[in-house]
Amino acid sequence: MLQFIFRRSVGAVVTLFLLGAVTFFLFVAAPSDYASLACGKDCSPQRLHDIREALGLDQPLAQQFWNFMSGIVMGRDFPTGHCNAPCLGVSFYSGDPVWSTIMDRFPTTLTLTLGGAVVFLVVGVGAGMLAAYKRGSMVDKVATGASMVLSSFQIYFLGPIVLIIFVYSTGWMDNPQYHPITDDPIKWFTGLLLPTLVMATIFTAQYTRMARSSMIEQMAEEHVRTARAKGMSSKYVFFRYAWRGALIPIVTVLGIDISSMLGGAVVTEITFSLQGIGRLAVDGASHKDLPLTMGVMLFGAFFILIFNILTDIAYAYIDPRVRLS
C-alpha cells in the first residue's frame, strides 16, 4: 500500500509539472500581453520595456517557465523581496504573492466544500438509500420526485431566490460572507450557511438519485440474493452486502466533486459574491494575470490528483479484488 501511494504520488508530481507546462505555454501563446494591457493606450516603447522587465517578461520563455516551476519548490527572489516556497509568483495585477492570495481565499472555498459535502452525503445518500429500501413506497416517490425537480435547478437560479427571501425581504440573515472560524464560530457557520445549503441542495438531489439507483442495482446482484438465501435479515443484507457495492460509484463521484469544488466553486462564489478560489480563477483569467492563473490552476489540479489517489485507496478498502498485494 505504501509503495502504491509512493508510486502514485510521484505520478502526481509529474502530472502537475506537465499540466503547469501546458498551461504556461498555452497562456503565452494566447494573444494576451499583460504588459501592453498594463501600459495602457498611450504607451511609450520605453515604458513598455520597463514593465516587461519588471514582470520578468523580457526573459526567454523557457527561463520564465523554469523560474516559475522552480519557485514552487525552492522559493524565488523578486525585486520586491524574497518569496518563500511554495512560491507561485507575484500577481501581475495586484502585485501580491499568488500563494498568499490563494491562502486568503481558500478557507471560504474549503468551508463551502466541506459543509456542502456533509449535507449532500448525509441527506442525499441517506434519502437515496431510504428510497431504495422502501422502493415503490410513498417515501420513494417523494424522494425521487423531489430529487428530479431539484437537480434540474441551478445554483444561479436558486441562489438569488434564497437571497431575496432570507436576506433582502425578511432580513433574517446577513448577506453571506466568510468569517474565520477562529474569530467567531457562530458567524463562520451562519455566514456561509445559505450558499452552502443552496449548493448542497443541487448536489443532494444528484446524490439521492445516484445512491438510490446503485442500491437498487446492488440489491439485484446474485451475491445479495445468496445472502438472503442464507437467511440473513433484509436489513443486514441491505446494509452489509448491497451497501458495500453501492459505495463504489458514490465514492468515485464524491472524489471528483470534492476535488473540483476545492479548486473553486465558481458559480456559488459568484452568485453569492464570495471571495473564494473560483472567483480568483475567473479574475486571474480575465485580467490576463499569468502567475495567478497558473497558481490557481495548479492548486486545483493538486486537489484533483490527491483525491484521485484517495479514491483509489478507498476502492482498495471497499473491494478486496482491487487490493494491491
Binding site: E222, T226, A227, K230, R240, Y241, I318, D319, P320
Partner: protein, 353 residues
C-alpha cells in the same frame, strides 16, 4: 446413488406426509408487457434422503419454482398461489421473519455461478460463518471452527488458511465447494442445487457431483437438483420432473423417464442429447421451434406448436384442452398409452439406442 434404495414405483404425490410437498403452485410476475406465468400449476414431492431432478429448457420455470420455495422472489411484482409445505410448515403464507429463520437453516440453496453468487467484499469464512451464527446463536469462534470443518469436508485444502481468503482468490471449482459448504453449514434438511455444475469444467463437475452424493448420504438431506443436463441428472437423481412452460409435463423415477419417456417433449430432449457412443456423422435432433412466451402461453397443451405428433391426436384436443398430469408415473399428453408406446418404439428408440 448406490446406498439409497430406489423406488421402482412412482413418486406419487401422496398427501401431507412428504417432507416437501408442492401443490398446484402458480407463480406470476407482473411486468410492463403483461403477466408472466412463470410457474403454472406445478405439484411435486420430495422425501428426505432423496433427490428430485428437475429438467427443462431455460425459462421453463425450474429456477423460479425453487426461488419461490425459499421465498426469494420479489414480493412486489410476484404473486404466488398454491401450497408449499416443508416438514408440515406452509411456506407460501409464511412471514418474511419465519422464512428468514428457515433459509440457510432448514433449507439451503446452491447457486449456479459461484463467482457471482459469493460476495466479492467479504472473506469466504465470514460468508460461511454468518448464517451459522445467526441460526444457531454460535459464537464467532464456534462458527469459525464449524466453517473450517465444513471447508475441509468439501475438500478444500488448508481450510484454516483458506478461511480468510476472498472468493476471488479461489478457483472456480473451489468456489463451488465453498458454496456447498456454506449451504451445508446448518445441516439443512432440504438442499436446492440450481445447476450447481453448469459453470464448471467437466472434471470438476464430476468431483462436485460426487461430493454432493457423499454429503447427502452423510446428512440425509432431500435434494432438488435443477439442471438442463440429462447426463448429470441420470447420475444424481432418484426421481425426475420434466418441466415445460412453467408446468410439469412428465414425472417418474429417473430410470423410468430415461428408459421409456412418455412425452413428446422428453423424447425431443433425449434425442437432442449428444452421446459418446453414437456415430460421429449422425446429426443430433433438435426440437423444432423455440420455447413459448410465458406472457402468452399457447392454449391447450403448451407444447403443441412444436409437437411432431400432434396429428396423431384426434380433433383439436391439443390446441384447446390442457392435458393433465396424473398421479405417479405420468406424462401430460393427449396421446393414448398405446400410441405413445408405438411411437416410442418405432420412431424414438432407434434414435436413442
Amino acid at each position: 446413488m448406490t446406498t439409497l434404495t430406489k423406488t421402482e414405483d412412482a413418486p406419487a404425490p401422496t398427501g401431507p406426509e412428504s417432507f416437501l410437498s408442492v401443490r398446484d403452485l402458480k407463480v406470476q410476475f407482473s411486468t410492463e408487457d403483461g403477466i408472466v406465468k412463470a410457474v403454472d400449476g406445478l405439484s411435486f414431492d420430495v422425501e428426505r434422503g432423496k433427490t428430485l431432478g428437475i429438467v427443462g429448457e431455460s425459462g421453463s420455470g425450474k429456477s423460479v419454482t425453487n426461488l419461490t420455495i425459499l421465498g426469494l422472489h420479489s414480493p412486489r411484482s410476484t404473486t404466488v398461489e398454491g401450497e408449499i409445505v416443508l416438514d408440515g410448515k406452509e411456506l407460501v403464507t409464511a412471514s418474511e421473519r419465519e422464512l428468514e429463520r428457515l433459509r440457510g437453516n432448514k433449507m439451503a440453496m446452491i447457486f449456479q455461478d459461484p463467482l457471482t453468487a459469493l460476495s466479492p467484499f467479504y472473506t469466504v469464512g465470514r460468508q460461511l460463518s454468518e448464517p451459522y451464527m445467526k441460526h444457531t446463536g454460535a459464537s464467532k469462534k464456534e462458527a469459525r471452527d464449524r466453517a473450517v470443518q465444513m471447508l475441509e469436508k468439501v475438500g478444500i485444502p488448508q481450510p484454516k488458511m483458506r478461511f480468510d481468503d476472498y472468493p476471488h482468490q479461489f478457483s472456480g471449482g473451489m468456489r463451488q465447494r465453498a458454496m456447498i459448504a456454506m449451504a451445508l453449514m446448518c445441516d439443512p434438511d432440504l438442499l436446492i442445487a440450481d445447476e450447481p455444475t453448469t459453470a464448471l469444467d467437466v472434471t470438476v463437475q464430476a468431483q462436485i457431483l460426487d461430493l454432493l452424493k457423499d454429503l447427502q448420504q452423510e446428512f440425509g438431506s432431500a435434494i432438488i437438483f435443477i439442471t438442463h443436463d440429462l447426463g448429470v441428472i441420470s447420475t444424481m437423481a432418484d426421481d425426475l420432473l420434466v418441466m415445460y412452460a412453467g408446468r410439469a409435463i412428465e414425472r417418474g423415477s429417473v430410470r423410468e423417464v430415461m428408459r421409456e419417456p412418455r412425452h413428446p417433449y422428453t423424447w425431443g430432449l433425449l434425442s437432442s442429447m449428444p452421446r459418446l457412443d453414437s456415430d460421429v456423422d449422425e446429426a443430433l435432433t433438435p426440437i423444432p421451434g423455440s420455447p413459448p412466451s410465458l406472457l402468452n402461453p399457447p392454449t391447450g397443451c403448451p407444447f403443441h406448436p412444436r409437437c411432431a405428433f400432434r396429428d396423431e391426436v384426434p380433433g383439436t384436443l391439443c390446441t384447446d384442452t390442457r392435458p393433465s398430469l396424473g398421479d405417479g408415473r405420468a406424462a401430460a399428453c393427449h396421446l393414448t398409452a398405446e400410441q405413445k408406446q408405438t411411437i416410442f418404439i418405432d420412431k424414438i428408440q432407434p434414435r436413442l439406442r
